[in-house]
Symmetry: C2
Subunit: 481 residues, 2 copies
């Protein structure tokens, strides 16, 4: 035992396997369109391919790598596929993948400055770059978290800390009222419940016909709550809701929040990135009056999951909420550097800013703008195709590149039949493996969503999907409707 060699894989073996894996990935990216976007598998089928017990003896790395094609790929939903048009995309660009490789190799844990000076300072540098790209005021201080759920959780927790500081009230939590539109993302409500906000004090504010929060309804609800001795403490405005990418009026909502001294958080996880394009920057008008905002570079800035960026004008409240430094984490630099662990619930922190650094440098601001502009152009083109075809119907405005639509065949059929038809239409096109579309439901209508925001997605892909939708619809109508 004493003399047995234990340690890592020999570096030369790593080199050889690393080259093999890089070649595999390059080929994967070249052939990405050959794969079915959604895998053809049923729950429980994949796990049968794996042994029930862990291997006692080590296996060769060749064996592991050869299983990628045999055991992994048959279960992969190809988020990198140009016709992955479901949810909101997250696509891995080449430089994003390289950055993650380096992140894994250097394995920095940026708890405090000392544990990784470069992670700390590069986070400052790249978040200031992104702040400039988004044209946020200089007093917006940034930090990287893993997901938008966690970023917004920190926003709501900060709002809570702020009001706790202002009002000493043992029963405060039972009075706090929280506001967002009925179109806001489910993570917002989940976060609030998690922090102990009472379900009966969560206000889902009505939206107008364009799915934007109605500021007057918000104002009235807040007034009513105050009259009832409740305490409004946080409003979330959404820039790019998940169903339709509608944009709440940040300016109008900010005005109400300022008057009432309420924390305003902006959930711009997907669509906020579009603000790097100057002619789209208006979507953030009013942000200068907000307290915080989240944008996710892993959604529309071509970085592998996960990286969510949170900006706040009140980092000290974040620090007041989370800072608690035990002796074993104290360092000589605690007063001269940023220890990001003091600003969040997570102690361990991956070196995520490398992705921002690689991707922004490789494409340049101009390059990133071009890609997003092109997505918006292709999205609008699809909107036009839908609008001009009497067999289809547009169901929401298209502020970015997400289009909500459904099929409406010439023959009059009931709403229930329409829903059934559209659900079948979506499932049928998805089953071909040629595209992945997802859905939402608004006013009891089953709505298909098509999202153009993958880095490999071009006009031709959208046109292929459009042809497939028409063809499949004809078949369905011919057969049954």
């Amino acid at each position: 035992m004493k003399n047995k060699i234990v340690g890592d894989m020999p570096p030369e073996e790593f080199r050889k396997s690393g080259h093999e894996l890089i070649d595999w990935i390059a080929d994967y990216l070249i052939n990405i369109e050959e794969y079915p976007v959604l895998p053809n598998t049923k729950p429980g089928e994949l796990k049968k391919r794996f042994p029930k017990n862990p291997p006692e003896n080590g296996e060769s790395v060749e064996e592991i790598l050869s299983d990628i094609d045999r055991k992994i790929i048959p279960g992969v939903t190809h988020w990198n596929h140009p016709k992955f048009m479901a949810y909101f995309n997250s696509t891995s660009s080449g430089p994003g993948i390289l950055a993650e490789l380096l992140t894994a190799a250097l394995n920095q844990n940026g708890m405090n400055w000392k544990s990784s000076p470069i992670a700390a300072e590069m986070e400052e540098v790249t978040l200031d770059w992104l702040r400039q790209m988004l044209d946020l005021p200089e007093n917006f201080w940034g930090i990287i978290y893993d997901t938008a759920s966690i970023s917004s959780l920190h926003a709501i927790a900060s709002a809570k800390t702020q009001v706790e500081h202002e009002r000493k009230d043992k029963n405060l939590l039972n009075k706090l009222c929280f506001y967002f539109s009925e179109q806001a993302h489910s993570s917002i409500e989940k976060d609030a419940l998690f922090l102990g906000i009472k379900k009966e004090h969560i206000r889902k504010i009505k939206v107008n016909k364009d799915f934007k929060m109605i500021p007057e309804v918000l104002r009235n609800q807040i007034s009513k709550d105050i009259e009832n001795n409740l305490i409004p403490f946080c409003v979330v405005a959404t820039v790019g809701t998940t169903s339709t990418t509608s944009v709440d009026s940040v300016s109008k909502i900010a005005k109400i929040c300022s008057e009432k001294n309420i924390w305003l958080h902006i959930d711009a996880a997907h669509a906020g990135i579009a603000a790097i394009v100057p002619e789209m920057r208006f979507i953030l008008n009013g942000v200068e009056h907000a307290d915080s905002i989240v944008v996710n570079p892993h959604k529309w800035l071509f970085m592998p999951i996960d990286i969510s960026v949170y900006y706040t004008t009140k980092p000290n409240i974040l620090k007041r909420t989370f800072s608690l430094i035990p002796e074993y984490l104290k360092t000589e630099q605690d007063n001269s550097a940023i220890n990001y662990m003091d600003y969040g619930i997570q102690l361990g922190r991956r070196f995520r800013s490398l992705k921002l650094w690689f991707v922004i440098r490789y494409f340049g601001v101009k390059g990133l703008r071009s890609i997003i502009r092109e997505h918006i152009r292709v999205g609008k083109l699809f909107e036009e195709l839908v609008s001009n075809n009497p067999q289809f119907e547009l169901l929401a405005p298209v502020p970015f590149s997400t289009v909500c639509f459904r099929a409406v065949p010439n023959r009059v059929i009931s709403e229930a039949q329409l829903n059934e038809l559209n659900e079948r239409l979506m499932n049928e096109v998805n089953r071909t493996g040629k595209v992945f579309l997802s859905h939402t439901r608004l006013y009891n209508k089953f709505i298909i969503r098509l999202v153009v925001s993958g880095i490999r997605t071009k006009e031709e892909h959208m046109l292929e999907v459009w042809a497939l939708l028409q063809k499949t619809l004809s078949k369905l109508i011919g057969n049954e409707y």
Copy 2:
């Protein structure tokens, strides 16, 4: 614009750069000992090397990669260095790095089964492997989170949900009492405060001379709280505390928790991994009576940060706490597959189980056991060296491979001088760049910690550090003490 080519880095460019980066990493791993463990830099120096503004135009990938040596490395704390003996290690093994590369390339977002069937099913498979390796009962259900802070947050939130379900009391939160030892990790207290547990109801239970929670003190405190109409709802026992790796008696604490119907969570983030070695499994004795446990493969199982594994016997409570499924995330498989998003605060989920799969397969269970056994052997050897040298003093038992010690020169000096001497000793050895040790403080004593848990750490490295400590101490004593 319309015809401008926008899209990703061409795959052949990715291939070329990927090969370069793999070579860079292989060389880095070969030469890791040539780097100073701690970089020689002061806060603010690194960021000056980066432009203040983001680049307008894209740069070549060669330019970016060439900056790794020039701008990144000078700020890296080398967590992979065999003489990184601070905090608790996290080291990237070769197979762990390869797994992360594949994770980034496939870019699975395992929100629900459909969004990545393989991520869902491989999480099931590999967590069952790890469960078997740790010899946890079959009713322990696992899920991967990013960090131990988040795993324990889910444990405490579950405990809260359980008690909320049992007692309908509007004022419940103001009565909940939470227990852990005064040696527990700071993240535990941070989590509890975050969830709204009152600071005055957080009970830090006294430890004995071996830094283990005293069960009788816990029992008495719980009884006292119940008498005062407060509601004990959660106890955290630590297996491997951060300062000294002391192990709370899980069996005795579990007995108290069972009697009083209190959720028992075990924080075994670092040391729990040692339980894969059969002769060390006793550290988890009693775990079968616990409600949940966290272990971090990124700490002592040689996977790049981040991967934290949480097991609970009550996944339904987790689901009750977190499940909230909006229409746009509903799928046909919701009743036949696990949607991990329903069991946590984070919606987006990286494909982290790939790391478990690569690393367990490459080393095999036997290989992983050998490495951990060797770490413990080297740790004990250092303990002996310290114990047998009259100029040093051991300050805590060594259950694993973390040694707490300080220098005690022959000449009698005050406790204050001893603290100053040891702080200087640690800083001096760290300044050489040859090692990184960190400290803790117990009973007002400045204590140096030496941790042997990096995959590249061998006996020879420990011996080098021991020689350096002795030499530096002689110099300091000769000069001033």
